[in-house]
């Protein structure tokens, strides 16, 4: 066992650290029209240095960086206080699916514009009656000349208020639940699309409802086989729950901020919660290093999803308990942390998955 970084990773780390130190600047919330465009500019700037998708092949705008280097990038990114990624849903949810199930044509067409944030993607999974029970979704895609017509309603669609395109599952066949679903991409500005932004607890539209009324999707925007959408979506769902969407760097950075906050506002009764936050972030970081050699299975990703989402809440609640109700610099992160145990499959569903699929308890 060995935790040391090789020379090329150290060089890469130094480059990233130095570039971020001179370029990171505070941006407005990405859940406002103006802030969204600020974030798009920031991501273009990252892309111009080939820092927006470091682990992708160079052909699509990346650097062919190793997973370790990607983790190092993420640690540096979050430690520098750099802004949240408006392209996150595309990069961490859609792109892995395209790498695994897309065609060469799709990858060539979709990935470079995603890397440059020319096209920002929203996810469109949930429906009003299909939340935890995603397989009960009802929106349909009906065959038409040269493609499909989408009908129905999606909700809790992150970024959809201002994004360009979206990806989701639709019923194309007669099967029930997991059967007869197809993974489709669509344009949020296409005729027939109505986007209704939904204000979150902070008052800003971090997600939206998307109403679809005969929205045309050309055949080349079907990902994977028609009718095979559940498998296509789930094969990379671990990416949302596990490694990629919430890289350890986010939590090691937040835990370090919490330790600094504690030093300025020491309260011995809260000491253990501060230390446990740091230990938890470190545990997740090391766990991720361990997963570099053997990537996590879907159920194993459920373990980390529960862990990081509860860690994030604990970090931010401890900060609020130290500061009281006036908590500048922590409020937005705190509100966001509260959504962690809910999105990407509630922690209740994840615990079922862990018990049934990792421990083999009966369904």
């Amino acid at each position: 066992m060995d935790l040391s970084l090789d020379a090329s990773t150290l060089t890469f780390q130094a480059e990233v650290r130095s570039w971020l130190a001179t370029h990171v600047r505070p941006l407005s919330s990405m859940d406002t029209a103006a802030g969204f465009e600020e974030h798009r500019s920031w991501e273009r700037q990252l892309a111009s240095e080939r820092l927006s998708v470091v682990s992708w092949p160079a052909a699509f705008g990346g650097r062919d960086a190793s997973l370790l280097q990607w983790l190092v990038f993420e640690e540096e990114y979050h430690a520098s206080g750099a802004p949240g990624r408006v392209s996150q849903n595309g990069i961490f949810l859609l792109a892995p699916t395209l790498f695994a199930h897309g065609t060469d044509e799709q990858r060539a067409r979709i990935l470079p514009s995603m890397a440059r944030a020319d096209v920002v993607w929203a996810q469109a999974w949930s429906e009003p009656e299909a939340g935890s029970d995603l397989a009960s979704l009802r929106s349909t895609a009906v065959r038409c000349d040269g493609g499909w017509l989408l009908r129905g309603q999606k909700t809790w669609s992150s970024r959809a208020a201002f994004a360009d395109r979206a990806f989701g599952l639709f019923r194309t066949g007669p099967g029930e639940r997991h059967r007869g679903l197809t993974y489709l991409l669509f344009d949020l500005r296409a005729p027939g699309v109505t986007v209704r932004p939904i204000a979150q607890l902070d008052g800003e539209p971090g997600f939206a409802e998307v109403f679809l009324d005969d929205v045309f999707v050309p055949d080349h925007d079907v990902v994977g086989e028609v009718g095979d959408g559940w498998r296509v979506a789930m094969s990379t769902a671990g990416n949302e729950r596990g490694l990629t969407l919430r890289s350890p760097g986010r939590f090691t950075a937040a835990a370090s901020r919490l330790v600094e906050l504690y030093r300025k506002n020491p309260d011995p009764a809260l000491r253990d919660r501060v230390v446990d936050a740091w230990i938890g972030a470190q545990a997740y970081r090391l766990h991720t290093f361990g997963a570099l050699a053997a990537p996590l299975s879907g159920p194993a990703a459920s373990v980390t999803k529960v862990f990081w989402s509860e860690l994030d809440v604990a970090i931010h609640e401890t900060a609020l308990d130290l500061l009281g109700e006036v908590a500048p610099g922590w409020r937005d992160g705190w509100l966001f942390s509260l959504s962690g145990p809910i999105y990407a499959g509630t922690n209740e569903i994840q615990r079922n998955v862990i018990a049934e699929r990792l421990l083999g308890l009966p369904r």
């Binding site: 935890s132 009960s136 909700t155 809790w156 979150q200 109700e325 006036v326 809910i342 209740e348």
Partner: protein, 276 residues
């Protein structure tokens, strides 16, 4: 010993509940501004919390009257008051007229800067002391009344969130059945009920004794029970509870703010230990 509410008190709670549920706000029309008995104040503030009423009610109805005693506040009828007790209560909730406590001296005060609370419905201000209004005021008791009514409000907030969530769990279906049929949801809600049910007698007990130890114990227990209610309410509601369109958010944010208002749980635990 008779450690239950009188029928007059339960009737009064029911009247307040109906009044607030109907969207009315002029509590003075019910005589609430004349309530001074701590147990009666708890009855009032549990309903204030139950409906997530915003504004400087703790200050206007419980704390400032205790500080002013018989002395007329000199404010117009219906005007709201607010008060800070630095360092424990460093800021004041926005109101028509401000006071500031320094030891046992009551000052007029003027707002200097606005501050952002975790609950956007609570507008906070920093205060700068002005002329002395009174000396030798019962500051300690007034502070404890603030803590007590804040505890009662947290209890009401917690109860409201439990009610909201229980209703949601009975009606929202996933996987072909109401989510309230899942044992995980049942146990979440049972835990909320247990927390609130055992915090409640501490609040009324503190109102009876009005000693600092008991008042602090009530604040600790209600802060934890109500915040647990909020977290579980959000978890059981899922994404819908995370929207500004759903009423849960109002309760949740107010609970989080009141959890550390009128002294943090940590400060109150220290006060309990000192008194043991």
């Amino acid at each position: 010993m008779m450690f239950t509410l009188s029928s007059e008190q339960t009737d009064f709670a029911a009247v307040l509940h109906d009044f607030l549920r109907a969207g009315k706000t002029d509590l003075a029309s019910l005589g609430v501004d004349e309530v001074t008995d701590p147990v009666d104040l708890v009855v009032v503030f549990e309903e204030v919390g139950h409906h997530a009423v915003a504004g400087p009610l703790i200050e206007s109805l419980a704390v400032v009257p205790a500080l002013m005693g018989g002395v007329a506040a000199g404010a117009a009828a219906g005007a709201t008051h607010s008060v800070a007790f630095p360092p424990l209560v460093p800021h004041a909730v926005e109101a028509d007229r401000y006071f500031l406590i320094d030891g046992d001296t009551l000052h007029e005060a003027t707002p200097t800067a606005e501050l952002e609370s975790v609950d956007p419905s609570r507008r906070l201000v920093d205060l700068s002391p002005g002329p002395i209004v009174a000396t030798d005021v019962p500051a300690a008791r007034a502070f404890d009344l603030g803590v007590l009514t804040c505890s009662a409000q947290l209890l009401g907030l917690g109860r409201a969130m439990l009610e909201l969530t229980t209703t949601h769990a009975k009606t929202r279906a996933q996987f072909g059945k109401p989510i309230g049929q899942f044992q995980a949801v049942k146990h979440h809600l049972a835990n909320v009920l247990i927390g609130l049910e055992l915090a409640r007698p501490l609040v009324f007990g503190a109102a009876v004794t009005m000693n600092s130890r008991d008042v602090s114990a009530a604040k600790v227990a209600t802060s934890d029970a109500a915040w647990q209610a909020a977290r579980i309410a959000l978890q059981v509601h899922g994404a819908i509870g995370y929207t500004a369109e759903h009423e849960l958010g109002r309760f949740l944010l107010q609970t989080r703010a009141l959890r550390t208002a009128w002294g943090s749980p940590s400060m109150h635990r220290a006060r309990v230990l000192e008194a043991l």
